[in-house]
């Protein structure tokens, strides 16, 4: 506690001294977010047997444009008495999370302190903050960005990466350049070329076979015209050790690579998109020792699953996560990355047509397929050689079809069908494959005076794993400020009667302007939950949760 007292004294002195500079307060804006929970024992899912039933995450952010070209940002976080479940134990007590000063003049932007940055699609570097996922992996150091004639954009950076309230021992260096060559093309098209480098120096590496520096190089091109676009990105990673039973190997050392091709076309009321990606040994951490940690700490690049991001609870039961790593578990379970594609199609049926009705009908299709890399795997000698474009065992596939239709001024609905294939053995190292079909019907009825009722019905059918589920939800928006809801998720077909559990939740929210309060009681499975108009991830637990978020102008 002493440490935090010193900190408050520092803050007090800081604000007293800057208050002389009245502009600091005149241009100040702040936000405060607080998420708290009281965890309870649950007869069905078990007792809460950890320390501190009451837990709370609190974030205070202050920003000010305190002088013509100068910007200041401070974020203080408090995890009292402990952080919420599913957050890293490195978030503890009260401390400064972000402190930075920017100098912005014309086309120059200099930052000293904590900063977020992304090169290209993030395959080579991305630092960002997502409070709901407990990610804040900013770099502490220097970042300089310069834009020349609107045609050349250069970024250089150096820093140490944040891990909870601590920092990585190693350094991260980065360089990114982007050239806008559109003027060289005819008509109205855009042509961009990008080249990047990221190096990570981890002095903790104590291995004759490996340098302390790991480097990533990438090149990307982006082309788009009035109705067509295509882009390509390639990344090469120098030698990096493979984790064997969670420990970086001294001898099993491999290079990594990533390729991404994306293309699409569109015209009025129609859009099509296709993405191919291949990743081999591509995850990248600021500390080799942190590789594969469950909280995604020390992660330097962003390799998201390229599948449809769903909004409904049953569509999020079997969610695919990208498989960029090399893992040799047992002889018949060896993986070295992923290869696959995703495609999307959108179409709006015209207003005043037979299928379009008075308002038009939106249709969207999505399909994705992700497989292990095929090749020669040698378990006893710990080595592999992959084939460039050959697909190995299937991890995951999905097909979905969605129709959004407004029937009248007061009634509209969304119909969604999803077919999923989830290889639980290969992804989670558990047994089995889950093939499922999901149906969702989401109805909104507007009543007078800004009142509305939303009724959500979902069903998942599968012969595998825990078999069938249903879910339903009711949300009543009393007026534009107040909203209450009840929803339930039930594994009614579970072969084990004791596992037939109702995951029920009820609560309410109040939002007015920039303030929002929520309260919820129930049993959480965990996953993406969207209610009262806001989406966030929630951890698995039983109890009472409440949140306050507010910003001040």
């Amino acid at each position: 506690m002493k440490k935090s007292n010193n900190f408050f004294i520092f803050i007090f002195i800081f604000f007293s001294s800057v208050s002389i500079h009245s502009q600091f307060f005149e241009n100040l804006n702040s936000s405060f977010e607080s998420y708290s929970a009281y965890y309870m024992d649950d007869k069905k899912t078990g007792d809460f047997n950890q320390e501190d039933r009451f837990r709370s995450n609190n974030y205070l952010n202050l920003k000010s444009n305190f002088s013509k070209n100068w910007y200041f940002e401070l974020q203080v976080e408090s995890y009292l008495p402990k952080s919420l479940l599913n957050y890293s134990p490195n978030f503890k007590n009260t401390n400064v999370s972000t402190l930075k000063i920017d100098y912005i003049k014309n086309d120059l932007n200099l930052t000293i302190g904590n900063f977020y940055e992304q090169f290209g699609s993030g395959m080579i570097l991305r630092t960002w903050e997502d409070k709901s996922l407990g990610i804040n992996n900013s770099l502490l150091g220097l970042n300089a960005n310069y834009q020349l004639n609107d045609q050349i954009n250069i970024t250089t950076l150096i820093g140490q990466q944040k891990k909870g309230f601590k920092y990585s021992k190693g350094y991260v260096l980065g360089f990114d350049s982007e050239f806008d060559l559109s003027k060289a093309t005819k008509n109205n098209s855009t042509f961009l070329l990008g080249l990047s480098y990221v190096g990570r120096d981890d002095q903790e590496v104590n291995n004759r076979n490996l340098k302390s520096m790991t480097s990533l190089f990438s090149a990307r091109v982006d082309y788009s015209s009035d109705s067509f676009y295509t882009n390509f990105e390639a990344v090469q990673k120098t030698n990096n050790p493979i984790l064997v039973f969670g420990i970086p190997s001294e001898t099993f050392i491999k290079k990594g690579s990533g390729f991404l091709i994306n293309t699409g076309f569109f015209k009025e009321r129609l859009g099509f998109d296709f993405t191919f990606r291949r990743l081999e040994n591509m995850s990248f951490y600021s500390e080799i020792q942190s590789a594969g940690n469950e909280y995604n700490e020390s992660i330097l690049n962003y390799l998201p699953a390229l599948t449809k991001q769903h909004d409904y609870s049953l569509t999020n039961l079997y969610v695919y996560a990208a498989q960029p790593d090399v893992n040799f578990y047992v002889e018949d379970l060896m993986k070295s990355g992923e290869i696959g594609f995703q495609t999307d199609f959108y179409y709006l049926i015209k207003k005043d047509s037979f299928l379009g009705g008075k308002y038009g009908t939106s249709i969207s299709l999505n399909a994705s397929l992700w497989n292990n890399l095929a090749g020669e795997y040698d378990f006893s000698n710990q080595s592999y050689e992959t084939n460039l474009l050959e697909f190995g065992e299937k991890y995951f596939s999905e097909f979905s079809f969605e129709v959004r239709k407004k029937w009248s001024d007061n009634f509209e609905n969304i119909f969604l069908y999803v077919n999923q294939y989830y290889n639980k053995r290969l992804i989670e190292l558990e047994s089995g494959i889950v093939k499922s079909n999901i149906l969702v019907l989401d109805n909104t009825i507007k009543i007078q005076n800004n009142r509305s009722l939303r009724i959500e019905l979902q069903h998942l059918s599968t012969k595998n794993d825990y078999r069938n589920w249903y879910a339903y939800g009711l949300e009543y928006n009393i007026n534009s400020d107040f909203s209450v809801y009840f929803n339930d998720l039930y594994n009614y077909d579970n072969p084990n009667d004791e596992k037939k559990i109702n995951y029920y939740n009820f609560g309410g929210s109040y939002s007015k302007g920039m303030n929002r309060f929520t309260i919820n009681y129930g049993r959480q499975r965990g996953g993406l939950v969207c209610t009262g108009g806001i989406c966030r991830y929630v951890p698995a637990s039983t109890g009472l949760t409440f949140s306050v978020t507010t910003s001040f102008l």
Partner: protein, 168 residues
């Protein structure tokens, strides 16, 4: 425990005490849908109000709001409002932005805030989030969307336009 609660209270009071002054749209780089870098100072509507709507392709309430506005876009245009939809999709989903807006025939200007720098600079805690600005001065903000709220926003814009007409 008491000390801990005190420090939470301290933070809250500090925040409340700091609730001062006006706010402006910060000037910074974001990307056009084609990937070009542009500054946010070029976004605002010179003759009327600008609505900034922060959304993402995976956020159902965000799409509901933009769909609902788009269905009656003609009446918004009559009020000389410029509607800018800022996609906060990161590289997981940003490829879906262009096909989706065409598939939906949205008549908004769309920009991409891929690493959420603009969203963070505006202290936006969750989406959907809607801001109305006059020049670069923020005059209205709202978090979340419930069916029908587009009408409240529309009425706010009507009242603002009426006020400025009366002044003339």
């Amino acid at each position: 425990m008491i000390k801990k609660i005190t420090s939470i209270l301290f933070l809250t009071t500090l925040t409340l005490n700091l609730s001062i002054s006006q706010d402006k749209i910060p000037f910074m780089n974001i990307k056009t849908i084609e990937g070009r870098t542009i500054n946010t100072k070029s976004l605002s509507n010179k003759d009327g109000l600008t609505v900034y709507s922060f959304w993402a392709t995976w956020c159902v309430p965000c799409i509901n709001e933009l769909d609902d506005i788009n269905k009656e876009i003609e009446k918004w245009k009559e009020e000389n409002v410029k509607i800018i939809a800022i996609s906060t999709d990161d590289s997981r989903t940003k490829r879906r932005v262009r096909p989706m807006i065409n598939g939906k025939d949205w008549d908004f200007e769309i920009f991409v805030d891929e690493n959420q720098d603009f969203k963070r600079a505006l202290n936006i805690t969750g989406i959907p989030h809607t801001i109305v600005a006059k020049g670069s001065k923020i005059i209205y903000r709202r978090i979340g969307y419930k069916p029908g709220e587009e009408n409240i926003l529309y009425e706010f814009i009507l009242s603002q336009n009426k006020n400025s007409n009366e002044k003339i």
